[in-house]
C-alpha cells in the first residue's frame, strides 16, 4: 500500500495554509501506511542562506551543542531551530561543506534529512497524526509540500526508511510501489558519485532523478528518462525548489488521483485525501495516465505540463 499526498499552490494567498492542508491530507491516508510518515515542505527562502535539516534518535543530547557546532563550522550567522527529533540549521550558502564535515564528526550521531534553500524534510516512524503534531506541520507556510504514509515492504521500518527521500538540494521523492532493478542502478549511480543512506529502492529512484537533473535536464525530462530506466511498480510524486511532478509506471496498479483548480494542483493516492481541499467540489479531477509525465513549474519557463511521448 502506502499513501501519497502532494499540494502545489498557484494562489499565493493559500501559502499560509499549506501546512494545515497537507497535514490533514496526510492523516487521511493513515490506513494506507501506518508504519511511518514524512513530509517535505517548501517554505520561504532567505537570500544567500540554505537550510540543513538534521535528525537524531536522542535529540536532547545530540542537539544540546548543535548551536555551538553550527557556529563553529559555519560562522556566527548560523541559527538552529529545534523541532522534536529534527533541527533546521540555517547557514550561509557557501558554508555547507564545513557544516557537513562537522556534522559527520559530531559526538552524537546526526542524520542529514535534507539540504536546500526552501525545502525541509520531517519524517519519523509512527502514525501520521503523531508525526504531523510532533513537528507542528499544521502551522507551516510554503509554496508546495509532498507527504507519504508508509506501509513497509522493501526495507525496515526506520526513520531513514521513511519517505520523502532527498538526494539533491531542494529535491525530494515519495514512492508507492516497489522497484526490481534498484540494486544495479544503485551501483551505477554510486559510480557517478552519488551517496546513498539506505538500501531502500525508493532512494534509488530519487538519486536517478538527481543524477539526470545534475546533467542539466529539467524535472520533466528527468522523469521521462526514469520511465526507460526504472523497472517495477511505481507512482512517484517529486518536488524541486520550483517544480512538482508525477509519474506512474506503464502498468499503473498503484492508485493515483489528481485535482486542479485555479488555486492549486493536488495529488492523492485516493480521493479521500483531496476531499478537504478548498473548492474540491468544482475542481478538475482526473486519474493520471500510465507512463505519462506530469509536471508543473512555478518558474513557468519549462511549461506547466508535459506528456511523455
Amino acid at each position: 500500500m502506502c499513501g501519497i499526498v502532494g499540494l502545489f499552490l498557484k494562489d499565493r494567498k493559500l501559502e499560509g495554509e499549506l501546512g494545515a492542508l497537507t497535514a490533514e491530507m496526510l492523516v487521511t491516508m493513515t490506513d494506507r501506511g501506518p508504519d511511518s510518515a514524512g513530509i517535505a515542505v517548501y517554505g520561504a527562502a532567505i537570500p544567500g542562506f540554505v537550510k540543513v535539516t538534521v535528525q537524531s534518535d536522542m535529540p536532547a543530547r545530540a542537539f544540546a551543542a548543535l548551536d555551538a557546532l553550527a557556529r563553529t563550522a559555519a560562522g556566527d550567522a548560523a541559527t538552529v531551530t529545534i523541532k522534536d527529533s529534527h533541527a533546521v540549521i540555517t547557514i550561509a550558502a557557501d558554508r555547507i561543506e564545513p557544516l557537513r564535515v562537522a556534522l559527520t564528526g559530531a559526538p552524537e550521531p546526526l542524520r542529514i534529512m535534507s539540504v536546500g534553500e526552501t525545502m525541509e524534510i520531517y519524517k519519523e516512524t509512527g502514525l501520521p497524526k503523531d508525526v504531523v503534531s510532533r513537528f507542528g506541520i499544521g502551522t507551516m507556510a510554503g509554496t508546495h509540500a509532498i507527504g507519504h504514509t508508509r506501509m513497509a515492504t522493501e526495507s525496515a521500518v526506520t526513520t531513514l526508511g521513511a519517505h520523502p527521500f532527498s538526494t539533491g538540494a531542494d529535491q525530494c521523492l515519495v514512492h508507492n510501489g516497489s522497484l526490481s532493478n534498484h540494486n544495479n542502478l544503485r551501483r551505477e549511480l554510486r559510480r557517478l558519485g552519488i551517496a546513498f543512506e539506505t538500501e531502500n529502492d525508493s532512494e534509488v529512484a530519487a538519486a536517478h532523478l538527481t543524477a539526470r537533473m545534475r546533467d542539466g535536464r529539467n524535472l520533466g525530462e528527468a522523469l521521462t528518462d526514469a520511465l526507460g530506466n526504472l523497472d517495477g511498480f511505481f507512482t512517484f510524486v517529486v518536488g524541486t525548489r520550483t517544480g512538482f511532478g508525477v509519474l506512474r509506471d506503464p502498468i499503473a496498479c498503484k492508485p493515483a488521483v489528481m485535482a486542479e483548480t485555479s488555486r492549486y494542483v493536488a495529488f492523492g493516492s485516493e480521493y479521500r485525501a483531496l476531499s478537504g481541499l478548498p473548492g474540491i467540489e468544482t475542481a478538475r479531477i482526473w486519474e493520471p495516465e500510465p507512463a505519462a509525465v506530469y509536471f508543473w513549474d512555478r518558474d513557468g519557463s519549462t511549461g506547466d505540463k508535459m506528456l511523455a511521448a
Binding site: A252, V257, Y271, R272, S275, E287, E289, P290
Partner: protein, 228 residues
Amino acid sequence: MPAFDLSTTSIRALNEALHGTGEPLKDRRFEVRNPRGSHAVAVGCRDQITVAVHGPVGYYCGGMNAAATITVHGSAGPGVGENMMSGSIVVEGDASQYAGATGRGGLLVIKGNAASRCGISMKGIDIVVGGSVGHMSAFMGQSGHLVVLGDAGDALGDSLYEAQLFVRGKVKSLGADCIEKEMRGKHHATLEQLLSKAGMRGADPSQFRRYGSARKLYTFNIDNADAY
C-alpha cells in the same frame, strides 16, 4: 426515505441498514450524502432497494451487489461493482481501475471514463461506458459484454475467453488472442438492447465494431502436442 450522512454515520451502520441486519427492511429507497471517497459504500446489497449516493466514492462501491439499483452522483474509486451478481450500478462521473472486475451479472453503467482494467475477468456482467476505457480492459473476460462509446486503451481483451466487446471509438491496440469480428444481426440487436438499458440515447449500434476471442490461446492446439 432514510438518509445517511457519512460525515456523521459509519459505513458499517449504512451497510447494516441496507442489508436489513437486525430489523427487516421497511424502506426501499435510501439516500447517502457526504461519502467523501469512503470505501465499500453499499456493498453486498441482497434486496431490491434503490440507493442514491451523492458525491464521490472510494474503493469497491456496490461490490457483490445482488439486487440493488445504485446510482453514484459523482465519481467512483477502484473496483466499483466488483464481483456484482445482478442489479445495476450507475456512475454519473468517472470510474477508477478495474470497474466491474470479476462481475457475474447485472448492469454497470459508467457515464464518464473508466481507467485501466475495466471488466477484468468479467464473468457475465454487462458494462456500458459512456467515455473511454484504459489499458488491459476486459483482460481474461469470460462472458458478458463490455460496451465502450469512446476509445479503448492498449491491449484490449488480452487473453479473452468469451466476453463480447463493442467499441465505437479507436482501439489503441488489441491484446493477445483478441480480434475484430463481424457485426452480425444478432450482435446489432444485443448492442441495441444494452445501449437502451444503459440509457445511452443517440448512440447508433452501426457505429460500433465488435471484438472477441480468436480462441487460439485458451483451447488446446494439437500442433503443440510435441511441446509436452
